[in-house]
Symmetry: C2
């Protein structure tokens, strides 16, 4: 079963982390035919960190996990921190294929999203 | 003339800030009929901060500016820091209407962008 693990930075503001959890729930509904498991985890500042998220996906029966960084830029978190956290988990799950997707700013859909967000102002 | 000011957090990693500048350039090309001016600015960790970005839009002849937060979540930066920076500039530009758009995670297009980004993995 394919799993998607949405990984956000994490914020001291609980509401912000809750937004990410809600987004993962919505995502689970929308892409359930493709990804039987969808969870959220955080790089820091939350109780559910990346190793916890991977563990949960594994427990739920994941045979592959796509880690989806909920980050806009290829900053240090995307280039170093998330890969380091994920790599640290690989030995524990030799039978699960774990991959990391691109940061969101690399998407060709970003332009459309930016313009439509700007256009929602009055 | 309508202006769009893309505001990112800013990173110590120059390449990350450069990504945002390039995105603003692309955005300028794509939405030139709607926004005659498009610039990028940063909340911190770059030479071009929010007041600099607003000043540049004003110099270029903006009559209205939409500040577009390049942020995914409604964390402290979106809820407090960007509004504080923008509000601090209002008195200086009484003839320019300055508004702040939503954070990007609030867009209905985000779901599609997330799924397509996940699907680019092998």
């Amino acid at each position: 079963m394919k799993a998607l693990l949405l990984v956000a930075h994490g914020s001291r503001r609980k509401q912000s982390n809750e937004e990410v959890n809600l987004l993962a729930e919505k995502l689970a509904q929308v892409c359930s035919t493709q990804y039987g498991i969808v969870n959220a985890a955080f790089l820091e500042l939350d109780e559910v960190l990346i190793p916890d998220g991977i563990r949960l996906c594994a427990k739920q029966g994941a045979t592959s996990i796509i880690v989806l960084p909920y980050f806009l830029n290829s900053g240090r978190h995307v280039v170093e921190d998330i890969p380091n956290e994920v790599n640290g988990c690989l030995a524990e799950y030799p039978n699960i294929e774990i991959s990391i997707a691109s940061h969101l700013g690399a998407s060709p859909l970003m332009m459309e999203l930016l313009i439509s967000t700007a256009n929602t102002v009055k």
